[in-house]
Structure formats: structure tokens, C-alpha cells
Symmetry: C2
Subunit: 388 residues, 2 copies
Amino acid sequence: MTEVHVAGVGLTHFGRHPERTGRDLFGEAVQRAVTDAGVPRDDIDHLNYGNFMGALAERQAHQAPLMAEAGGLQCPATRYEEACASAGVAVREAVKSIRSGERDVMLAGGMERMTNMGTAGATEGLAIAADELHEVHAGITFPGAYALMASAYFDQYGGSRADLANVAVKNHANALGNEYAQYQREITVAEAMDSPPVADPLHLFDACPITDGAAGLVLVSGEYADEHAVDAPVTITGTGQGGDKMALQDREYLAQTPAARDAADEAYAEAGVKPQDVDVAEVHDCFTIAEVLALEALGFYEVGEGIGAARRGETTRDGDRPVNLSGGLKAKGHPVGATGASQIAELTRLLRGDHPNSDAVPDAEVGLAHNAGGTVASAVVHVLEVAR
Amino acid sequence: MTEVHVAGVGLTHFGRHPERTGRDLFGEAVQRAVTDAGVPRDDIDHLNYGNFMGALAERQAHQAPLMAEAGGLQCPATRYEEACASAGVAVREAVKSIRSGERDVMLAGGMERMTNMGTAGATEGLAIAADELHEVHAGITFPGAYALMASAYFDQYGGSRADLANVAVKNHANALGNEYAQYQREITVAEAMDSPPVADPLHLFDACPITDGAAGLVLVSGEYADEHAVDAPVTITGTGQGGDKMALQDREYLAQTPAARDAADEAYAEAGVKPQDVDVAEVHDCFTIAEVLALEALGFYEVGEGIGAARRGETTRDGDRPVNLSGGLKAKGHPVGATGASQIAELTRLLRGDHPNSDAVPDAEVGLAHNAGGTVASAVVHVLEVAR
């Protein structure tokens, strides 16, 4: 089976870009990815593109050919939509395409514009990732849904708002040196605790922001890398996907995310690694509780044990296994359709040693990206490795 | 390379279904496809699902896991969106997945609800498949865009409104016996000519209707078919995809669709067949002119020669190569996200001999499906074969 290498990564700044179109943002990400890869643009066989709610944000669907054009790509293009895991599935199917020999060089990425919708508009827009008939119709939005999950967690396993605040503080600290991050500033536990309530027990600083941004990856086969002497030390060795019932009410557990566990199990098996082999991870912390649930689903902690990880310093940059060194969705930002690719871009830089936070993981060999859709009704996990 | 067989097909009635949800429609299509295939539902590895504008029509994105649930599938699911070619790309990537050995049994299909938006609402919704900044912003909708293409065709190559009316008459005649078709009634050339103008030179009867509906296919590998003695005589032997500039203004020719030509060339090469080998075709006749452009892009006619095909009786059910025996988008209906899979379902039945119009092509060995997005900024072509 062909190996899949990350030959190049490209990110835009994540934040408010009211003056820029989606095609402008994605074009920049492609330009940077192609430059980073040093691969001729014309060698790209196909674009796998993730976008979630362009139909609402820009009245623009059918974005795949448009984004190929914006990126100067002369190849067919396909859009993937899996809520907040849109870019995750775009990358996953690209990995499978290259592995199988169907394609040699691919651009996988995504883009989202959200800030032009305003916070209330974006929150309403995001709600289309939940079950319209049985959740949204009853008044639920994502802050409310994750608040239910957090409440259930506290009830079943314990933990406190302060534990969650430590997750936010950690991720803000990590974003400090990341030029692409939306929030490059530190916060304190007290600030997080005192931030306005959104949906009990979650407060404002438990939530990721509304973000515009784009991300792109150039992925190449091992054969292509060899033939063209492409410098691409990072390999995607595992990919996994899981699914779950869409509505929270239909699930057995509110405070567990089996779709992510299934995705991780598949990715670990493919890569031949175990949870304890993972040196550094980017996980889908759309809310602080989501990071906790991810740590447990990924097998880093037993169920009920992940809540204290940030507080105990185990997932901080000086901890044994740093999580969200990019700043995570919480502080780097969460342009929905770009996030899954952005996580892999950040991990690639961390493993290559050219990320501002690479010094926290100088010996890291195995990285993991965890990207989730909705209340983890879908999840995608990738394992990345670098030879040292 | 593994062969890909169509083991089962499932369609809902295409038409107005105001009382039914999208999940209800897709669940029915899956049920029928699984029953037709005789394959245990639990053997399905993955759902590839096409949908175009659920964000507008039902305020529901993230439909893939929801539709897996509606279909009783215990597998991960991925949504594809490529405007009116959404199901086409969903099927195409499923074919590639099975071929490569990554997956053995897949459900590929799609669904669209549109009639609840009303004709004006749906027309505005459909416009998100065009370039929002440079086309829609200037007031163009798809009837207008295809009218420009028809005008350019008439200017460059000749032809008349009566030629286009013959396409509509042919496709309505074909839909007569199709229980799934939205319009099961004949029309005359005079009726088509006298129908109200929409965008000169296109009149109402040149346009496909607004439709609710769903389609599903069970696709299996040759190995799986052999091991489980699945009766699946139809094989997908070629798949191709092409892309073009999104906006008409950026293209070299208004009256040609090179994305479809590229897709066809790729599919023909894979299947090892030539245009003249195709016995029966389903093409994307969202407007009558679109069928003409398709016939030429597929190599059935030279550029400028396809316009008279229906009038001359070459593409009618008694002609040498019947086109749109299902009734086509024009008369069978066009639930956008389902259409690409519906075409392959119809072709499969035609080739297996269990379609009401199978008697028109009793010896057919090679079928072709042509599915297009927008003004053919994207196109997907599949070649199907049956051994006789």
C-alpha cells in the first residue's frame, strides 16, 4: 500500500476577515501549501474541499470548482460536508485515494466564512449541524447541547467548572506564539470562570469563537515523493471515521463520544500505534468539555478521568502529552470547514520542527488529529508520524 | 483491480411530497435498494450521500449521519455536494473506494427536498450553484444561464426552438410508463412551443420541474458478489470527472461543455469503450439545451450536430441510441441531490431488463450516465456494462 506524505501545508490567519471572500481566503491557503510543498501546481490531480455552511454564509454552494479556480488548480474538485468535520473527511478520502493508487498528488483542505453572519446568525447557522426536527426545533443550539453533555459528565464522573476553565487557559497559552491564531493572548482561570454564562455550566470562555479562515494540505504518494525528491518527512499512517445517532436524545450516553472512539480505534489499527504512543495531539475543542470527551474517546484517559488533565498539567505544553499546541479551536479559532485540515497542518509543523511550539515536543514521533461533527455524530481521526 | 457491481437500486417516486421529510424519503430509497440487492444491511461499510441545498430547504446540514440512521445503516457516512452532480460524485468516490479494496459494500445515493420552497424559492436556492459574486449578483438564475447557452448555440451552429421542443416531447413520452416519474403524461411539440416563455429562447417546457425524491444504490466488489452469490449483472466499468470555470463569462465557449467531455473521455478510457459503443444513455437534461450539449460532449455527435437528434428520431425510444428512457430530468424530475444516483438506478434496470422501457433496448450492453453541476462547471460520467 502506498504511503501518504504531507508535502506542504498552508493556512490563512484565523479571525475576522470581513473584507475577504471565501475564494480569496482559500486561494491564499492553496498558494501557501503549494509553495511549502515545492510541488508544481499542475501535478495536483484532484481537490478535496471541505465547507459547511457556505449556502447560508455566502449564498454559495458548488464551491469545489470555484475553489479549484481560486487556487489556480486545473483539476476536478469535490466538496465534502460533515458539519465541523468537513475538512476531516475531505482529508480522509484524499488519503484513501492516494493510498489506493487512484491519485498521486492531492490538495485537501477547507474554508469557512462565518463572522459576516454575526454571532447570533452564526450560532443559528451552526445549528443546522444538529437534528432540525428533534433538537433545533425544540430550541437547542450547540452551546446548549454541549452544556447538556457537560452537565451529564459532572453528574456521572464529577469535575467542575474550574477543570474546564483550565482547558481554556491552556489553549490560550498555546496560541500565544501562533501567528495564525485568532486569540493570541493569555487568559486566567479566574477570567474564564467569571466570563458571562452561555448555557450552564458553560460560560463564554468555554466556547470557541466564530472565525473566518482556510487551510490546505498538499498530500503526495510515497512514489511521487521519491521520484520528485519531495521533502515530506511527515506521513499519515492512519485514518479512521465513526458515526453515531444524530440527536443527543437517541444516544445511550451523553458524556461519551463513541464515534470518536471508533474513529480512533480504526486509525490506531491502521498505523499500528497505541494511545500511549501518541506524543502530541490536536483535538476538537469547540467547547472545553469537548476536549475532555476527546481525551477519553482517544484512549488517553479512562472514561471519567480526562476532566483533570489540563488542571494537572498533563496536557499543557510542558506536560507528558501536549494537547492543542496550536491553541485549539478555542484560541486558534474554528472556521468550521477548514478546521480538520488546519489541525493536520499544525501537527505537521509541530512534527517537522518548524512550528513556534515545536520546542515543546522536540522528540515527538507520533501526532494525532481528532475532528468532530455536531455533538460528535461524526468523527474523523488521523495519525501522523515522522521518522527521527 | 476489483470490479464494481450494482447489486441493488432503490428509488422513491419523484414529485411533490410536502408531507414527507428528507430522512423519510431517503430511508425508503435505502430500504428498496437493500431489498433489491438482497445484501444484509449490516454488510454495508459506508454511505456516500449526495445532497445539494438541505441547508436552505430543511435547515439541515450534516445529513450524512442522519441519513445513515434513517436507512438503518450502522456505518460511517459522508456527504458529497457538487450542485446537481452531488450524487454523481458520491457514486464516483464509492466506485473508487470499492475498486481500491478500501471498502467492499457501499450505499451510494442522495436526496433532495425542493417543492416546500416553492418555485421562486427553489429557483433562488438553485442559484447558489452559480457564481454568487459574478453571476447571481448580476441577476442571473439557471434558466437565464442556460438561455444564454442556448442562444449562443443557435448563433454558432443553428437550430431552433422546435428542435428543443422535440427533446421535451421525447422525454415526456419516455416517462409515460415510469412509475417513479413526476410527469407521466405526453406532450406535443406545439404544446412545448406554446408554453410560457421563461428566458428567451427557453420556455417552460424546456425546463425540468422542481422535485422531491431520493435514490440509492448498493454497490459491491466483485469478490463480495462472488462470495455471497449476489445477483448483480451490471458492472460500473468507467468513472470520470471534469471541471470548468464556474462563471459562464470566464469560459471560452458558451455552447460547449468541456467538463463533460473530460469526464466522458476518462470514463471511456477506463471502460475501454468508445462513444459509438454506448447503447443507451441517461443525460443531464435540466433544460432541453443541456441534453443537446451533453450528446456532443459525450462524443455521440460532432459539435453543432446534436441539436436535431431528437427531431430526427435518433435518440427516441425507437432510435439507434435512446437517450433518457427514464424520462430524464425533464419528465422524471430532478431532485438535485438524488439525480446522479437515480440515473444509474434507471440504467441498471434498463440493462437488467426489468425497466418498463427495457423493451426498447433488449440487446443493450453498454449504458452511460452523465450528471452535471451548475452550467457544467462540474460533470461526472459513468459507464455501465452488462454481459449478454
